[in-house]
């Protein structure tokens, strides 16, 4: 067992550190999705990070990754947090679906844009009638010669408004049992028949949309994996979406702790003994989360069980939601008075137990598939 970096990892870490020390100042405004300018800043940061070689480091080099072990994703997260840099782009789960299942031709065509962050992607899974029960989705992709014709509606699609590509789950075999009739397609969002409508989040952030597909033509070559393999691919990638390192969460949470800690120790904000202890408890949580993620990543490989992602996700939900209660109290009146930053972050922490499969669904997965408890 070795939690420490080996020489190669240490060198990688040092390289990232020095890159950050040179380039971070340009991104001092941070990132976000509340306005067009914030979105532009966010995408610029993602691109710069990708160009420097720090996005999707565990994905194959031939498609724009670096072919490094999964544990390097953890290093990226740690270092971004330590430098108080904006988070890395949340693309690990989508990238894994494409890398692990798509044809070479499709990979060559779309991965450079995804991993290089020059083209934005979204994930078209949820529908108005299919949230937790994803397998009940009704969007159809009907085979028609060398293309599919897509009809239906997606909802809660993060980033859809500025995405070029959508990884879409659609029903291709209506006659098969529901889990077996779903396929995964890469859809060009600029195709005719795609209509996106913005949904404003409770925080005011504008990164959500409904997407309508009206006879949208998708080349058959954009099928990821086999027809009917969509469910399997989705489960595979949800494990990566649920894994906190891929989504940049550990980094974000570490950064929140660092900022709070600095504000208290510099006297910029005062906290009584009770509040200091709650902050210490939250900091301990995040530290343990970092160790846990390091272990998860070190153990993750092609054959690993997707349920492990649910453990990580549940741990993250618990730690993040408690952390924000502490942060809110540290912020005192500025939690509710003045610029809405703290309140918006708090609202995000509530979303953590909904997206990527709700807390209730994750608990069910852990209870039934890991602990082996009976299904009712």
């Amino acid at each position: 067992m070795d939690f420490a970096d080996d020489p190669a990892a240490a060198e990688f870490r040092a390289g990232l550190r020095s890159w950050l020390s040179e380039h971070l100042a340009e991104y001092a405004h941070g990132t976000g999705y509340e306005s067009a300018e914030a979105v532009e800043r966010t995408h610029k940061w993602h691109k710069a990070l990708a160009q420097a070689g720090y996005v999707a480091v565990s994905l194959p080099a031939e498609y724009g990754g670096r072919g490094l072990p999964d544990s390097y994703e953890g290093i990226v997260n740690q270092e971004l947090a330590a430098a108080e840099a904006p988070p890395s782009p949340p693309i690990g789960h989508i990238a894994h679906a494409v890398v692990d299942f798509a044809s070479d031709e499709l990979k060559t065509r779309v991965l450079p844009g995804l991993l290089g962050c020059t083209q934005v992607w979204c994930q078209g899974f949820s529908e108005p009638g299919a949230g937790s029960d994803l397998a009940s989705l009704t969007t159809t992709a009907t085979a028609d010669g060398d293309r599919f014709v897509v009809n239906g509606q997606k909802i809660w699609t993060s980033g859809a408004m500025w995405s070029r590509w959508c990884l879409l789950m659609a029903r291709t075999e209506p006659d098969l049992p529901r889990h077996r009739g779903i396929s995964m397609l890469v859809v060009d969002m600029e195709s005719s028949g795609v209509d996106r409508r913005e949904i404003t989040l409770a925080s005011g952030s504008r990164e959500f949309a409904e997407v309508f597909f009206d006879n949208v033509s998708v080349p058959a070559a954009n099928l990821v994996g086999e027809r009917g393999q969509g469910w399997q691919i989705a489960m595979h990638m949800l494990a990566y979406e649920r894994g906190p390192a891929d989504m940049g969460w550990v980094g974000r949470l570490g950064q929140v702790i660092a900022t709070a800690r600095e504000a208290v120790s510099s006297g910029q904000l005062t906290a009584d003994e009770a509040l200091r202890q709650r902050l210490a408890a939250a900091a301990v949580d995040v530290e343990v989360l970092q160790w846990h993620v390091a272990r998860s990543l070190a153990n993750r490989g092609p054959g690993s069980r997707s349920e492990a992602g649910s453990v990580d996700k549940l741990l993250t939900i618990r730690i993040e939601q408690n952390l924000y209660h502490v942060v809110n109290d540290l912020a005192a009146a500025s939690f509710v008075v003045g610029p809405p930053t703290t309140f918006a972050n708090y609202l995000w922490s509530r979303a953590q137990s909904i997206y990527g499969g709700t807390q209730q669904i994750q608990r069910q997965i852990v209870a039934q598939r890991i602990l082996g408890l009976p299904r009712d």
């Binding site: 909802i155 809660w156 404003t200 912020a331 610029p339 809405p340 309140f343 909904i354």
Partner: protein, 403 residues
Amino acid sequence: MQIELTSEQRAFSDSCARLAADLAAGWHRGRGPGDIDPPAPDEKAWARIADAGWLALGLREENGGIGATAVDLAVLVEQLGYHAVAAPIVGTLMAAQQLQTWQAPAELLADIAAGTLRIAPVLTADLRSFAAVEPAWLLRQDTPNVGPATPPNLGPTAPPNHGETAPPNHGETTPHGHGQTGRPARGTAEAGVLAWDAAGAAMAVLPALGTAYLLADATGFADVTRAVRPLGEPAMTIDLTIPGDDALAGLGAFALSLLTADLLGTMQAALDSAVEHAKVRSQFGAHIGSFQAVQQLLADSHVLVEATRSATYYSAWAVDALPGAQALRAARAAKAFASRSAVEVCEHAIQVFGGIGMTWEAPAHVWLRRAQADRLALGDEHFHYAAIAAAEFAAASTSKSGS
């Protein structure tokens, strides 16, 4: 012992609910934060509020009021919370009670009761207490100053400090030694004080200065159903008299009871709406309310709502029935419990809604915003736990040294 609302109070609650629902129906959340109606009722809506007698409720008859009990007021305010009414009624009730306690002239109070003078209370920058004056001769620090003394600055985008430390003051911190009776001091308002629930208000009074101030434009506030506004220029002086300890403690208890009732209504609305959603939303071929995980969230929420209802009733009853200090102790406990519980219930409601609960369009965030902002107004649970603990340990050390 009869611990439920009387039939008159139930009828009053129904009539409050009807008007509250009507007022809420006239207020639109729009498509996002840039598109929302301000939380200020128009003249017509304000006239309906005044005609219903709501603004006169707490004032005594000689002040143009109705002289209702604090329980009656809690009944009204629960409905305002339930319907998330975006009109500054709670703020007006609080300011009116404060001015009555400071023996403001009857004509001024009558104008407030009639709705012709729209007025708001002033809270310290940390929102924990009614604002007082600098220097702090008027205050005595009985309780430790818990939590951050100045608003923190979490990250580059957080606001700069917008206020100075003020000792907690819920009434038990009355003047001692110098000039505790008679006329308010001359002085200037502390930096960063805020008129609370002040949408549409013409002015806000700092009783400790005997001065009414005009109000500046609203500052950003998480609760979209209320506004907080910095003070502007002094508008007039008002002839006031510093109340005694018991009256000030009673005022603190009264104000906390209103907030507790508002939290109760807010959490009840969130729960009812989540229960309704759980009965109609289907996944996996069943209503989500049939899944135990969902049932448990909602059942726990119901327990918290019922306990908060008991606390609200006790706290409101105590305002009229117990001496000021005891009423304040009860009100602190009730407000602390309600603050914590309301947030939990609203968070559970969002969880039950799933994705739609995270949208601007759905009302769930409005309840959460109101719960969090009410929670901070006049002190969150941690503030009151600390005050309760301080008082209790002080009592313990006194009795020890006495034995």
